[in-house]
């Protein structure tokens, strides 16, 4: 039985900036959650707190009975494996081939020597190829990651996340650097993983229509605080205007088409 993810009064300060300010969230397993908000609202910081790439100034994060914010060493690495992270700039190793990049998702399971020698088992390679197949990337398996297009690189990053066999997938603006066609492929990939594998997805988005099209639940942030938390239909234009002001709404509408409408309807 998968557990739910709880953020309890979590804050993170950088000097005088309250990047995340007293955020409490309860995310049940299997939900597809979109986090929206203007640049600097604290969306990335929140995801990095959950994956423990940074530590909170205050508050606690729990996953079932695991107190995520207290994990250390191997337990911390196991947690990072359990909540895979996808970045806006993909964060792949350009000079390594696609297969090795995907196998990086297995490192938490490897011993020191086999990891340093880049030695993986046949089962692991099979897992990697299967993950690549789900994202239609098998022909690129032996290509250097740096030679792929942005959309392909982001799908490699998703395949890498998949072989981690995670419970949660965190995606920090995964489509912000992609064209609409590729953005659609990536979002569809995340949705498939969410529906077929029951993996919780928490995705930062910068466009409203994408959030509305894909998410079960939308969380809106501003200045580190959660200003709205509800279903997409509750997020009316009036609510958005209340939260962001007319200027903010304009900003969203200008960048409204980050995924293709056709695919959204399908």
């Amino acid at each position: 039985m998968p557990d739910s993810l709880n953020l309890i009064n979590v804050s993170r300060h950088f000097g005088n900036t309250k990047a995340v300010d007293n955020v409490s969230l309860d995310i049940p397993p299997g939900q597809f959650v979109g986090v929206i908000g203007r640049s600097g609202a604290g969306k990335s910081t929140m995801l990095r707190l959950i994956n423990r790439l940074i530590d909170p100034t205050e508050g606690e994060i729990r996953y079932g009975d695991r107190v995520v914010t207290q994990l250390k060493g191997k337990a911390l690495r196991d947690w990072r494996r359990d909540c895979a992270m996808i970045f806006q700039q993909f964060n792949l190793v350009d000079r390594l081939d696609v297969l090795t990049n995907v196998l990086i998702g297995r490192l938490a399971e490897r011993g020191f020597v086999s990891s340093m020698l880049m030695r993986f088992t046949d089962e692991e390679r099979t897992m990697a190829i299967q993950a690549l197949d789900r994202l239609d990337l098998v022909p690129q398996t032996l290509q250097r990651a740096g030679t792929l297009s942005g959309g392909q690189q982001q799908r490699v990053a998703i395949a890498k996340a998949l072989v981690q066999q995670p419970r949660i997938m965190l995606a920090d603006e995964p489509i912000a650097s992609l064209d609409p066609a590729n953005a659609t492929l990536v979002m569809d990939g995340l949705r498939a993983i969410n529906r077929e594998d029951g993996i919780t997805v928490l995705v930062n988005l910068h466009t409203l229509d994408t959030a509305r099209a894909y998410c079960d639940r939308i969380v809106a942030m501003r200045d580190g605080r959660v200003m709205f938390d509800g279903s997409p239909c509750q997020l009316t234009n009036d609510v958005v205007r209340d939260i962001y002001g007319t200027e903010g709404l304009q900003e969203f509408n200008e960048a409204a088409t980050s995924t293709q409408k056709v695919a959204v309807m399908a």
Partner: protein, 314 residues
């Protein structure tokens, strides 16, 4: 829309007053640049002349003239001819009619020299190998962006500094004392110095890498070692190989003199030649070393360019 609004907001500032302000600022900056330049040049020449003075460059010395009288002369003017005399002494007598015999006479110890030359190159090779491994391993904790904590950074940096600030010849003296005369002392001496020098160079390469791949490895549950192995090493490898080949060239030069203090290789022959006053041996040894270094430089340069080309193509 908002961009236009921002522009119109800033327009009122760009009037005639803004231009006069700019002209004033620009003139001020030019003035201060000129003053800095003048001060810098003055300081440089003062230091230069002070160094020359301390180094006896202006010294006047007494020399004997051909007619037996003594006279005062500027030391550099008086010394230069003697430089020629010394070089002349090391040159062999080569005559066209007995060229083969003269050459045989010049390179009379060629069997010993050939053996020592092989030893010299092997010392450099092995020392480079050890230095690369040591420098490579230490370069990661010694990089500001990669070090696990600041104590490890401090300690590894000081270690590398110690290894490279002590000259090879001094390390060689220490190791000859500890392990007795022979090539092992030479290998260790050059390896320690190369570790320090390469560790520093490698860590500078490390400090310029893109950190995003490392974050990607970390976010998947990788250890610090995994981050280095998968995120950093593939990025720095082409530079590492290039610096390593350069270092091999430098190490061949070092290993050819290190024998002077008994640490193996051709260097010991310089000492022998000097003590037996076999001055022509010196020019023979010089030619051997010069040719060896030239061949190795040429080869490794070719190899380096090939590597760099490969890195860019793939």
């Amino acid at each position: 829309m908002s961009a236009i609004a921002e522009m119109t907001e800033t327009v009122p500032d760009v009037g005639p007053s803004a231009f006069t302000q700019f002209e004033r600022d620009f003139a001020a900056r030019r003035r201060s640049a000129r003053i800095n330049w003048a001060l810098g040049s003055a300081l440089f020449f003062m230091l230069f002349f002070a160094s020359a003075w301390i180094g006896d460059f202006f010294k006047i010395t007494q020399v004997s003239l051909p007619d037996g009288t003594r006279a005062w002369r500027w030391i550099i003017g008086a010394g230069l001819p003697r430089l020629g005399e010394y070089v002349e002494k090391t040159l062999p007598v080569l005559r066209w009619e007995s060229l083969g015999a003269d050459f045989a006479e010049w390179f009379w110890r060629w069997k010993i020299w050939l053996k020592l030359l092989v030893e010299t190159v092997l010392i450099a090779f092995m020392a480079t190998g050890i230095g690369v491994i040591g420098g490579f391993l230490l370069s990661f904790p010694a990089s500001r962006n990669l070090t696990p904590n600041k104590w490890v950074l401090f300690i590894t940096r000081r270690l590398l500094e110690l290894a490279r600030t002590v000259p090879e010849l001094v390390w060689a003296l220490i190791f000859v004392f500890a392990f007795s005369v022979g090539p092992m002392a030479g290998v260790l001496a050059i390896a320690v110095h190369a570790t320090g020098a390469l560790g520093k160079l490698y860590s500078e390469v490390n400090e310029n890498i893109n950190m995003a791949p490392l974050e990607g490895v970390k976010a998947s549950g990788g250890t610090w070692f995994d981050q280095i192995r998968y995120g950093a090493v593939p990025q720095v490898l082409p530079n590492i190989i290039s610096y390593t080949l350069l270092r091999f060239e430098i190490n061949v030069r070092s290993s050819s003199i290190i024998g002077y203090v008994g640490a193996g290789g051709l260097g010991q022959e310089f000492r022998t030649a000097m003590s037996f006053q076999e001055y022509t041996d010196l020019s023979a040894l010089f030619i051997i070393i010069f040719l060896t270094v030239a061949v190795i430089d040429y080869g490794s340069e070719k190899l380096r360019h090939k590597m760099i080309g490969m890195g860019e193509r793939a």
